[in-house]
Subunit: 150 residues, 2 copies
């Protein structure tokens, strides 16, 4: 390899799973799934996607970059809000189509103002209509933070 | 709603984010992303997908069910290996297209024999060829556990 955004193509299942080369298995849209957890608490903060460029930039800079499917654009986490993610550790899964980053999260990860995007619990053991229970309070005011957002 | 596998369709962004109704936003393939973490350690064990039926079964039974994209089939985690996941808590994210389950994992989550699928670390701050560093040992012998696998 390789320029700054490309990776070597995935090999066999054995190479993907037991190899020491990072050869991400991007999906048909050129994306892998990324889970960001709080390096201190272990809490899942968010789930998003990375394309090759976002993955490269995250590895090179140690700060989280993602690819927005809705906007079709690369974005640096916190570029609008200031709520950046410093990557403490990155892991790749067995078939190299998912990344786990442990991060130091400035402010809150969620655009709604919560620390984590996963601020509501689903009741288990239920059928029929399912209600959600709020578990987390806001840690910032999204209308203030995103006032100048595009 | 609803029969045992369907959910009410997603509403507006405000309803999705601030509402108390579970209205998952399935993608074009009818799937949401699911992150399973170890309820005790917080470690990310695996990332997989759920269709409506898998999500319903997981909520109803308190054990993790997924949908395999490669096999195009519903599967109960541990149905072959015995390495089931008892769901302690389920969370849904802001736009309701990702689920986080905290689980009690029997054996190992990964078909390669490790506790977690994320058993390799990616070195940060590097460009060019990237190598992976193994972090986790096997907790079971996959050739023995999956001997009778289809």
């Amino acid at each position: 390899m390789a320029d700054q955004t490309s990776f070597s193509p995935p090999g066999t299942a054995a190479e993907l799973e037991e190899g020491t080369a990072l050869t991400p298995k991007f999906d048909a849209d050129g994306l892998v799934t990324c889970v960001a957890t709080d390096a201190a608490s272990g809490e899942v903060l968010m789930v998003a996607r990375m394309n090759a460029e976002a993955l490269r930039k995250t590895i090179a800079t140690g700060e989280a970059w993602y690819f927005s499917r809705s906007r079709g654009a690369l974005w640096k986490k916190g570029e609008t809000s200031g709520h950046t993610q410093r990557v403490v550790e990155m892991r790749i899964d067995c078939d190299q189509d998912a990344v786990w980053i442990k991060v130091e999260q400035a402010g809150g990860a969620c655009h709604t103002g919560r620390r984590s995007c996963f601020y509501r619990a689903v009741s288990l053991g239920k059928l029929g209509a399912l209600t959600l229970e709020f578990r987390d309070e806001r840690v910032f005011d999204p209308t203030a933070v995103y006032r100048n957002k595009d």
